[in-house]
């Protein structure tokens, strides 16, 4: 099934939406960056498709690759910025440093609220509340212990709820 390009074309067509949405959430709406990272994800999936054993769903496997691609990207960005300067950093992480919310289909409020979170918190929150993954699946995708995932979820939810209340979102 996976040995030819036509089959892979079907896979990309079917799963491009959740994978690009995952990156949009991590980059806080940066469409160009999201598409570049999503493209890298599918290229890696193509060259490593022989490693997919069917123990999880194909979407979970693709999301795991996407998470690794994003993780590598943020580490590279951090290292690059560290080398460039040591003092005048803006933003608290790589993703928020490149925030250009250009997506009009998602409410800007979501990206504003997500920008308050650290990367790991944001990943756990979006995987659970948007993509619908259970805690053990998030742990499997991110390779974090389940207890750590729970802590990120708790802290992330608290931060977001406080922000939403402060901005009158509960009225």
């Amino acid at each position: 099934m996976f040995g030819n390009k036509r089959a892979f074309d079907q896979i990309v067509r079917e799963y491009q939406s959740p994978i690009r949405r995952f990156f949009l959430n991590q980059t806080l709406g940066n469409e160009m960056l999201s598409d570049d990272l999503a493209q890298e994800t599918f290229l890696k999936a193509y060259t490593h498709i022989g490693q997919y054993r069917g123990t999880s769903s194909l979407l979970t496997w693709l999301t795991r690759i996407a998470y690794n691609v994003f993780y590598d990207y943020t580490r590279k960005e951090e290292n690059g910025r560290r080398q460039m300067d040591s003092g005048d950093l803006q933003g608290h992480d790589a993703a928020s440093a490149s925030v250009q919310p250009t997506s009009s289909s998602l409410k800007y409020d979501i990206y504003q609220a997500l920008s308050l979170l650290k990367e790991d918190e944001r990943t756990c929150i979006t995987l659970q509340l948007i993509d619908g993954y259970a805690i053990d699946e998030i742990a499997d995708i991110t390779k974090m212990p389940a207890g750590t995932v729970k802590s990120h979820l708790k802290r992330g939810k608290d931060k977001m709820a406080n922000y939403l209340r402060e901005n009158g979102y509960d009225r």
Binding site: D9, Q16, R21, N25, K107, A113, K157, M160, L164
Partner: protein, 117 residues
């Protein structure tokens, strides 16, 4: 409103968001490496076939060394002599055994091909 209700309200729309393809799939397909996957596939397929061939050769050697035809003949003879139903339908049973064997071989070859793809 509880924290969970607040977050549910915020993320309801995001959960339903579908990202339109807008040529994304075509761009990915154009970027796919031409030969990156095939050599790997070929080498694994070759290895798998070599293993299958090795197993077949070992089975044939053992069959000859242990005079497998005598064992099979003796077994069949015993079966036929001890079973009236088998005696009456010998041709059907032989045909079923041959068909079963052929299906088993083709299934093995098919699984071998898909296990590496």
């Amino acid at each position: 409103m509880t924290d969970n209700e607040l977050l549910e309200k915020l993320f309801r729309e995001a959960r339903q968001m579908e990202v339109a393809d807008n040529g994304f799939t075509d761009r990915v397909m154009q970027q796919l490496p031409q030969e990156a996957y095939r050599p790997l596939l070929r080498s694994r397929l070759t290895l798998s076939r070599l293993w299958t061939g090795f197993c077949i050769v070992v089975a044939l050697v053992l069959f000859v060394l242990m005079r497998g035809w005598e064992l099979i003949g003796y077994g069949l003879l015993m079966l036929v002599n001890n079973s009236q139903a088998l005696k009456d339908n010998l041709i059907i049973f032989i045909a079923l055994a041959v068909v079963g064997g052929l299906v088993g071989i083709s299934e093995t070859v098919r699984r071998e091909r898909y296990s590496v793809i």
